[in-house]
């Protein structure tokens, strides 16, 4: 007789039982039970299949993302690095690691994210899809674009006046050429009764050509002139969506400004026409 205590005996028996279930023993036991009864029941044992270990849905999700430790240690598995939630945790972790004992407040967190950008699933810095996105423009390209636009404007004005000044001269001094009949078919254009119709038609054609050329330049440079230069548009774009009961307020303001641009050109042309007519009448 040995001097085994009850506890020791229980422990040895337990180890013996566990040994019988280890190393594929569990499945072979189930096989034995089912085999002797010609059963087709499952004989795969939870002990022989470690992957069967119950895993929480939440745990699975965390495994796919990134652990806190990994974040703090700077390990960045490629799959996890683009996940916004992880980015948020990263921001928090980095802010806490900066040595400040105080709790990072929401505003500093958000402003930090605004500065650094919030990576999306594509790895690019993007705003939510419902907000119109303006790609950032290189300042040098913007300057070049502005130069081209200004040059186009100058040429347009010059060409307009190259046409308009003689036309105005004809209209104001038309009677001196009537007898000479040098104008031929253009004599009707010089008729003062047709002036407004001719002038308006010319303005429409000239403005259309100008805008065609402007759009061509914008396309080539990939720059929207009004969006990048207009202070009004910049101010309007700062208004949060939903604050005013108007949808896409920035787009509407841009359209209004374009109409205003056309009208302004027309008005300035009329003003100059009046001045030139005045000068021609005087002298």
């Amino acid at each position: 007789m040995s001097n085994l205590s009850e506890a020791e005996k229980r422990k040895i028996l337990r180890e013996r039982r566990q040994k019988k279930f280890a190393n594929g023993g569990a499945s072979s036991r189930l096989n034995k039970i089912t085999g002797q009864s010609d059963s087709h029941l499952n004989t795969e044992s939870p002990l022989d299949n470690p992957t069967n270990e119950p895993v929480l849905p939440a745990e699975r999700k965390v495994e796919r993302t990134l652990s806190q430790e990994d974040i703090l240690n700077g390990k960045e598995p490629s799959e996890a690095e683009n996940i916004p939630q992880v980015e948020l945790l990263k921001q928090l972790a980095s802010m806490q690691n900066e040595g400040s004992d105080s709790t990072p407040d929401l505003f500093s967190l958000l402003s930090s994210m605004q500065k650094n950008g919030m990576p999306t699933a594509n790895g690019t810095d993007e705003l939510p899809s419902n907000i119109p996105v303006e790609p950032l423009v290189d300042p040098a390209m913007l300057n070049y674009h502005n130069y081209l636009v200004n040059r186009l404007k100058a040429w347009t004005i010059l060409l307009k006046w190259i046409v308009l000044v003689p036309f105005l001269y004809l209209v104001t001094r038309g009677e001196s050429f009537e007898s000479a009949s040098v104008l031929g078919p253009l004599s009707n254009l010089a008729d003062s009764t047709n002036f407004f119709m001719v002038f308006t038609s010319f303005e429409i054609v000239a403005t259309s050509i100008y805008y065609q050329r402007l759009q061509s330049i914008e396309r080539n440079n990939k720059v929207n002139t009004l969006d990048n230069n207009s202070k009004i548009v910049k101010m309007v774009s700062m208004i949060p969506e939903g604050l005013l009961p108007i949808k896409n307020i920035k787009g509407k303001v841009v359209t209004l400004l374009q109409y205003w641009d056309v009208l302004a050109m027309f008005i300035s042309d009329i003003c100059l026409v009046l001045i030139v007519i005045g000068i021609f009448q005087k002298f």
Binding site: M1, S2, L4, E6, A7, K9, R10, K11, I12, L13, R14, R16, R17, Q18, K20, F21, A26, R29, L30, K32, I33, T34, Q36, S37, S39, L41, S45, P46, L47, N52, E53, P54, L56, A58, E59, V62, S67, Q68, L89, L92, A93, Q96, T103, P104, D105, L106
Partner: protein, 352 residues
């Protein structure tokens, strides 16, 4: 040495154990779990009169009241005729209704209407009652309550709690709960460790300490998990009948329990006919069935040679009421001998 390691075909060591705090009794449906758990509880209470025992039914289809022939509810109540054994039936519906009523009474006088009106019809109980696993969660809460009571010395304390569990699937979910909760709370801990200060700043300087509550819950769950995996404190008694499906499910249950690192060393095989020794009532059907039972008993003998395999007889009458249970439970402590104890199976009181 080998002789020393021979395993008794009874539960004497468990019945006289002074260390076990949690004893689970489970198996396939209809194999006699309630009778077996009641018998273990009665034998333990009879063998250790100085200690207090509690038998809890976690099966949504409770049988304890029927087994003892007296009504038990959601609160522990002593079995008539035994001053150290109490029983209770965890009733998810009643517990949830209590919670609902509490919510309604707390809302009285504050805000008539709104959520209060909604709860009047027992909406909370209806809603939460349909959540899968709520039975197991409530049973788990009961375990936590008992541990807390024991730690704080409040309320009624019990030395050993015996669980009459639901059929296998429910029970496995229940036993998985500490591990699952532990993992879940670990993950929560990681998140609240970083977001905790921010969450607290959102919550303001109110009385809600999320991290504190979570840590407390985690500590409780961890205590339970440790106790459930300690073979000196917790064990599982499998109940089966000598048939293929029952044997198969018992084997699977044992393997699952081992995978949870839980101790399981006892198997009660119920409803055995022992027809060879019963010359008086030896019909052809009994012989055929006993032949089948013997085949599986042999298999059980081979598979579970290191287990306490207790062979229990099929009685002539129903095993209901304390007297019958006492008679029947005796064979858990002292194994049934068909040659000498055969008369007992016809001696049970008729409760009908």
């Amino acid at each position: 040495m080998d002789l020393d390691l021979q395993v008794d075909p009874n539960l004497h060591s468990l019945i006289t154990s002074t260390t076990h705090k949690w004893i689970f009794v489970g198996g396939k449906g209809g194999v006699g779990k309630t009778t077996s758990s009641s018998s273990i509880a009665i034998q333990m209470a009879l063998n250790q009169p100085e200690k207090q025992f509690l038998l809890i039914s976690t099966d949504p289809a409770h049988n304890l009241s029927d087994a003892f022939g007296e009504k038990f509810g959601k609160d522990a109540r002593k079995v008539t005729g035994m001053n150290n054994l109490s029983c209770m039936e965890i009733d998810p519906a009643a517990a949830l209704k209590d919670m609902n009523d509490m919510a309604v009474s707390q809302g009285q006088g504050a805000d008539q209407g709104g959520i209060n009106d909604l709860l009047q019809g027992g909406a909370l109980a209806d809603l939460t009652g349909s959540i899968p696993g709520i039975d197991e969660a409530l049973s788990f809460m009961e375990v936590m309550k008992h541990i807390k009571n024991q730690e704080q010395g409040e309320g009624e304390t019990f030395d050993t709690v015996i669980f009459d569990t639901a059929p296998t699937g429910h029970t496995l979910r229940f036993l998985q709960l500490p591990t699952t909760l532990s993992k879940l709370l670990d993950k929560f801990g990681e998140i609240t460790g970083k977001l905790g200060p921010m969450l607290n700043s959102f919550m303001g300087s109110g009385n809600v300490d999320i991290s504190g509550k979570l840590n407390e819950l985690k500590a409780n769950v961890e205590t339970i998990r440790q106790q459930f995996t300690d073979p000196d404190l917790t064990t599982f008694v499998c109940v089966c009948i000598s048939e293929f499906l029952s044997l198969y499910e018992t084997e699977r249950l044992i393997q699952e329990l081992i995978s949870y690192d839980m101790d399981v060393n006892s198997i009660i095989v119920n409803q055995l006919l022992f027809a060879d020794d019963d010359k008086e009532h030896n019909c052809k059907r009994c012989q055929a069935r006993w032949k089948m039972q013997k085949k599986y008993l042999d298999q059980i003998g081979e598979l579970y040679e290191d287990f306490h395999v207790v062979k229990m007889p099929l009685c002539a009458g129903e095993i209901r009421g304390l007297t019958n249970l006492k008679k029947f439970s005796h064979f858990l402590d002292q194994e049934y001998n068909p040659a000498t104890d055969g008369s007992v199976i016809y001696e049970l009181e008729d409760k009908n």
